[in-house]
Amino acid sequence: MYLFIAAGGIAALLIIIYNDLVRKSNQVKETFSLIDVYLKQRFDLLPNLVEIVKQHMGHERAVMENLTALRTRAAAPSLNPEAKIELYNELQQAARQLFVSVENYPVLQSSALFQQLQNTWSGTEENIAAARRTYNAAVTRFNTFQQQFPVNIINAILGFQPATLLETPEAERTNPNAKNLFQ
């Protein structure tokens, strides 16, 4: 009798832990797909950005070549998640340089189309940052759960692998201007 109760208890525990692992693993995937959505939004802005920059800054060869190369890579049909993130980080770097260079082109800077593009760009930037933090929180929850007792023992059989945290790019680690925080 007691054996049956103990076996039932263990089976229930296994089911609960397995379901929780599946749920947390799916959360990680779900939150990564959120990043994917916003990365796609960001990559979709690239052709428009290249086009408008070409009109006004065509002679800035380095900037143009960099942007064109990134556009070509972003258009590739099968990019794995790591490649997407790497591409995104490079794109961020290039965009920062571009927006600094634009200050020397007042006509481009005051163009309504460019301003709209810049606003959308920073909007997706915020979304990607939040999605990345949501993903990292889901990964932390999932990894912590796997390492806890008795989940670690059960997981040795089930074989769930820890997920990888996304690192914050160097440029985003700098202190923001407090005045712009709440804008």
């Binding site: 939150t31 959120l34 915020e126 979304n127 940052a129 939040a130 999605a131 933090r133 949501t134 990292n136 929180a137 923001p176 407090a178 925080l181 709440f182 804008q183």
Partner: protein, 365 residues
């Protein structure tokens, strides 16, 4: 304009101008008039006694003259309009003086000393009531209801030009309960001073509130306890979130609330912030989009304020509601006392500075 400059330039001269030397002089001389009036009443009483040889009549005349003297004395005080004695004071003096005088006369007539003693009490009371009316105080102060209006108007105009007084907008206790910022049940809401304001294109309202829980013990005795006391700021929606995000003081896990609340707690990356606040939402991504690491840092700084710390925020679909904990009330001072005014207005300025800093942060100004 810094507060001290404001006080020296605008408030201090109001108090200096409030002292009217002529009225002060008159107020100093006034008590002597009463002494002369009492002496006159005594002389009239003595003359009556001499001419009639009846002590009852003489006393009655003395009491009547005394009551009339009191009446005219009070009426001729140099009171400012707002401090004129009420009709009750005149009625009290006449009733007490007349009744006392009559009883003493009856006592003298019948020879019963009990009447005499009992009658003397109201008569003496009427004299005391007359004398305690302090004409000095009245003369020293300008009508301070007017002064209070002048000072508060100047205070807002010079230091906080965007602020104005409004009628308190009383939200029912249910609203505060549903916002999930305040722990426990809320049964009553006490409303205090209410201000409205505009900064840039943002209109906001600021309200002193006290949230009260009413409970009954097994014997049916009612007790009231304060759940929250502080300021409630309502602003238009801040951020472009599509799910409610609630920032509330950190609480330990409560199983009951876990099942009742519509929102779930999410863990944030900032450990200091986590120790101070719980972030509740129905959508984790929206909460993280709204509460970036830098915003969390700033909110933590607001919560560390000694005078008026941030208690919680409800980031709603239409409005943002901010609760700031503070017991001090703005413009709560004795305007008759210049030293007290200076101290309390400084406190009001410090409270409003903190509140305006938070309003500015959430209005994108």
């Amino acid at each position: 304009m810094p507060f001290e400059n404001f006080y020296t330039t605008h408030v201090a001269p109001l108090y200096t101008a409030a002292i009217d030397p002529a009225r002060l002089q008159k107020a100093r001389e006034q008590p002597w008039q009463f002494v002369w009036m009492v002496l006159l009443a005594l002389i009239i009483g003595v003359i009556t006694l001499w001419s009639t040889a009846e002590i009852t009549t003489a006393w009655f005349v003395f009491a009547a003259v005394l009551v009339l003297s009191e009446f005219f004395y009070v009426q001729s005080y140099p009171y400012p309009d707002f401090e004129k004695p009420s009709a009750w004071l005149y009625a009290g003096i006449i009733v007490l003086g007349s009744a006392g005088g009559l009883m003493v006369s009856m006592g003298l007539h019948s020879g019963e000393w009990v009447h005499l003693a009992v009658g003397a009490i109201p008569l003496l009371l009427s004299v005391v009531f007359t004398v305690v009316q302090n004409p000095h105080r009245a003369a020293l102060l300008r009508p301070y209801t007017g002064l209070q209006d002048d000072i508060t108007r100047l205070f807002l105009k010079q230091l906080y030009p965007g602020l104005y007084f409004t009628t308190p907008d009383g939200a029912p206790a249910r609203v505060f309960r549903e916002l999930e910022i305040f722990g426990g049940d809320i049964d009553e809401v006490d409303l205090g001073i209410s201000l409205g304001g505009k900064t840039g294109n943002t209109t906001f309202y600021l309200q002193k509130i006290k949230l009260i829980r009413v409970s009954k013990d097994s014997k049916g005795r009612t007790s009231r306890s304060t759940v929250f006391e502080g300021y409630w700021i309502s602003l238009p929606k801040w951020g472009n979130h599509s799910a409610p995000v609630i920032l509330r003081p950190h609480r330990h896990f409560e199983l009951v609330n876990f099942f009742i609340e519509n929102t779930k707690r999410i863990e944030m990356e900032n450990p200091d912030f986590e120790q101070k606040f719980d972030v509740m939402t129905t959508n984790e991504f929206e909460a993280r989009r709204l509460l970036t690491p830098a915003v969390m840092q700033q909110l933590y700084a607001f919560s560390e304020d000694k005078l008026c710390p941030l208690h919680g925020i409800y980031f709603g679909f239409d409005q943002t509601h901010i609760a700031l904990k503070a017991r001090a009330t703005i413009f709560d001072t004795d305007f008759a006392n210049p030293d007290r005014v200076r101290q309390d207005l400084r406190l009001t300025a410090a409270l409003l500075d903190q509140q305006m800093a938070i309003v500015a942060a959430f209005s994108g100004e």
